[in-house]
Symmetry: none
Subunit: 209 residues, 4 copies
DNA sequence: CATTAAACGAGACGGTACGTCTCGTCTTTGC
DNA sequence: GCAAAGACGAGACGTACCGTCTCGTTTAATG
């Protein structure tokens, strides 16, 4: 593609740098990972890294390759509660993956004093996911699954906030049961559904769990 | 008293180090702040700092002097909604204070790879506030202001989660109107709905008991 | 040539470091001179020094630039006594120069627990001078100026030993008259020459009385 | 005795400090030995050391206890050559003892920028030995064993200079054969004796070939 | 004896330097 | 003409000692 080689960039080197960055991040953590070490491991010149990425955080964000992945697309089976549960447990699983957890907090912290990283983080990682969730909630509202006066943004933050809180502040494991309980609890108050208890039937087996 | 000077610690030096740490954190940010610079500004020897604090984060936590302050005591006027609004807007104001915001995210990030800092953060900063909120919610439940099957910990996290989300993830200003809208929205649904969720969790650790 | 810049070394920096080292050595002495201070004065990074020299002593030895200088070449006018007197008074002058005296003793002391310095000292400073003297003595023996059974090494050490003794042990000034008296006395006994200098000195202080 | 306890000095502590100093000197060498480490090992306070000794060198000199020992007394059997050989081989043995060699050079180097150490070194260690030798040589001259115009000080330095030269400059082992050869050679020319020594040594390394 | 003054161990303190590490820039060399 | 290699100035890291300065606790001598 034209753009990719517009700057005569060596794709092999790029890949080696991404690999080295990811490997190092897993091994020593985001903070302890140095550009020097990435270059060393990738057998790349330091200048090559400084030429193409403004900071360790942005490099890592690129390396994660989150731009094009589909984790931002929200499922829409028609059942809002099920869709939210499924998407959010997936998100929780990713957030609490041992390799990724320290990365995200590192990136979030870095964004507080690195506007470039902040922008990339929002446009590539956070933004698309917010948009996907927002759209799903709007659709739900239009279908009548949610009250017509629902503030989708506020609801979205009420949904995801506690996950981030657990992940970032108390560092407790984001187990699936917690996520489901939270979503049921929050949505349960909001939607007009008869549901005496909060046990859910597994759509696959049909057996109560 | 004997204990205080048991280690023959110089209180003037301690104060100078706290002052220097706080000033530097404000000026250059948590990450960019070095122990070397703190010592320089406090006219203290580096060893003096290393002698008394295990890390930059713990030093800063001590410097914030959050241990004994009363921001952890929850108001109880009998009106839960008003009390929550007042406490949470206060918390939001503190969190979004320009001097403090980068400190907290730095500490939270640091806690992810520094167990000692994590423990201090939880025991001195996060824990007491969680406990205060938990107690206020329990009192409210016992008074009948909340449904008898309310899970205080989950509710607490639903209350504070979005604040941290805004502060840490999207870095939007934590304006008072947002906080009030969120609290009204969440509490409003709760007091007007019957439902059930009967698991209880420990307010400190959050783990089910 | 290629070799010199094989390591892409910055010659300006090298010169600045040599200058700083020599200046500092003169000002504060060998022991009190720190690598940190050399770097500071030379406006060089500490790492640059540690990269190229294994120790303060070796750096100073290089800075003295004794490798290529010609003080190691022994004069040969055909008159052994005159040649020795001239070379040794020169050596004595150098050894007792106020800037150099503390350097040499520092290097000699350092060589006792730094094999690398010991080797450099011998190969660059001591060795060539020993060789030059040895050759001159051998030539003299071959010419019949010295007895055919002369041990040049022993004689050399008998010649220079007292100079070092005065310089290193009693720290008396290595005045020219002493050197000449010693050489005359030693050689006079060895070759068939009239000689005589019968000044006596105090055994404690060594000063002439 | 009154004087000794005038300052109410603890003799046990003093002994422990001496022992620690000597042990450390043997183990890590003079340069690497710190007052901090001496205090640590002697279980003494640092202040106690700083109270009684002006420097590491003087402390060590005291610890060596050279003041009163009898190595300064010169033998007088009537045979000058034998007496010199015996005394000097003894001195050489002491100088080249592995534990002492680095101490002496350290003290000599220290004396170059520590007048107090220089004075103590001369009055306690070097001076008495010079005096003893001087007296023996004077006696020999008065007995006619040496020419009447002999300069005892010069001769003394010609005798001992090469020993120090080997010990300090070339760091070759001060083997007995070398000492005897040197004394025989020097004295042999001076007194009326038949002698001869035809061994040759390499001028660079000094080792016999 | 009780007082008292010093020596003592312990170790905090402000400093300096150590030798290593990484930063981000700059230069040289090879492909 | 970009990329690797790495030198460079800069400066922080955490440690070791420096020499000074309290602290309480012996310990010896004086009163």
């Amino acid at each position: 593609m034209v753009w990719a080689n517009q700057y005569r960039r060596n794709e092999d080197t790029k890949k080696a740098i991404y690999d080295a960055a990811l490997a190092l991040c897993r091994e020593v953590g985001y903070e302890a990972m140095s550009i020097e070490a990435i270059a060393r491991r990738a057998k790349a010149g330091k200048q090559t890294i400084y030429r193409w990425w403004p900071s360790k955080g942005v490099l890592l964000l690129d390396a994660l390759g989150v731009v094009g992945n589909d984790s931002a697309t929200f499922p829409d089976t028609g059942d809002l509660l099920a869709d939210l549960s499924s998407q959010m447990t997936g998100a929780a699983r990713i957030m609490s993956a041992p390799q990724l957890a320290p990365v995200l907090i590192g990136l979030l912290a870095g964004a507080h004093h690195d506007p470039a990283l902040a922008e990339r983080l929002m446009s590539d990682l956070i933004g698309p996911r917010r948009k996907g969730c927002f759209n799903r909630l709007r659709t739900a509202r239009e279908r009548g699954e949610l009250p017509p006066d629902t503030d989708e943004v506020l609801l979205m933050e009420q949904l995801y906030g506690p996950l981030y809180y657990r992940y970032l502040v108390t560092r407790e494991p984001l187990v699936e049961s917690y996520v489901r309980r939270h979503v049921n609890d929050l949505l349960g108050r909001l939607v007009a559904t008869t549901h005496g208890n909060h046990q859910h039937t597994d759509p696959q087996t049909g057996s109560a769990r």
